[in-house]
């Protein structure tokens, strides 16, 4: 994947905050800033989608819900219908459509998340 350089100035307090968060996440400040830029721009492009940590990396999920985009796609793959998928979750159709729009835009990412969550040997407590 080709990459591009993005830069911008922020008040010093935010630089300190990002530095602290990068340390906590055991990553570099530049990697964390890159992640913030990517995820925030995607959240703006795909309203209703947010990102969270998962065992296989960051994953897209429905904001305010506990369901990952790949899980919505999995149900849709079974039902072949937005209406039936919405009925499964008892959600408005718009939520399902938003999840599917994201899944269509990033099929490899969603496939990777799905494989990571369903193929990984379970680590139970």
């Amino acid at each position: 994947m080709s990459t591009a350089y993005v830069s911008g100035r922020v008040p010093a307090r935010y630089e300190r905050l990002v530095t602290k968060q990068a340390r906590a996440a055991r990553t570099s400040k530049s990697d964390l800033v890159a992640r913030y830029v990517i995820e925030k721009s995607l959240e703006t492009e795909f309203p209703g989608v947010s990102f969270r940590d998962s065992l296989s990396g960051r994953e897209a999920y429905l904001t305010g819900h506990r369901v990952a985009v790949w899980e919505v796609l999995a149900v849709y793959d079974e039902t072949k219908s937005v209406e039936k998928t919405a009925a499964h979750f008892r959600w408005p159709r718009v939520l399902v459509k938003r999840a599917l729009a994201y899944a269509r835009a990033f099929p490899e990412e969603i496939s990777r998340a799905r494989d990571g969550e369903t193929d990984t040997a379970a680590v139970a407590g």
Binding site: G64, H65, V123
Partner: protein, 131 residues
């Protein structure tokens, strides 16, 4: 006939369907399962895995969900952090998301025969069980 309210012991996570909960109740009247969207007015829907597991322990609830590798991993993290979780029942991926009848039979059979009597603290069980 009015169904007698039952104190829930099982909390169905959001990746399960309300139809699964209804199917459980059709099989076993008063089956003690509630969907997370109906529990506490849906206020637990916004909880992340670790917070949900701890909240379930505090309320004496066992979480029922489709297997997502991250969930049992978080259960392990909760224990390693010195907290406890209230137990997890996970449907294996061989169980289709929309096969509500199979899900309900697996859960009600397991719960009625053995699960109801167990100590669930920090326990993880997969359905169908591996025999």
């Amino acid at each position: 006939m009015t169904e007698k309210p039952t104190q829930p012991r099982l909390l169905a996570d959001e990746n399960t369907s309300h139809r699964f909960v209804s199917a459980c109740r059709r099989l076993v009247q008063g089956f003690p399962v509630v969907h997370i969207a109906r529990w506490q007015d849906g206020s637990w829907l916004g909880l992340d895995d670790a917070a949900l597991l701890i909240a379930c322990a505090e309320s004496g609830l066992i979480l029922v969900a489709f297997d997502r590798a991250t969930l049992p991993w978080h259960a392990g993290q909760v224990i390693r952090a010195g907290e406890r979780h209230g137990g997890l029942i996970l449907f294996r991926r061989s169980v289709r998301s929309t096969n509500y009848g199979q899900q309900a039979r697996l859960l009600t059979d397991f719960w009625t025969i053995e699960g109801h009597a167990w100590d669930w603290q920090n326990r993880v069980v997969y359905l169908p069980p591996s025999r």
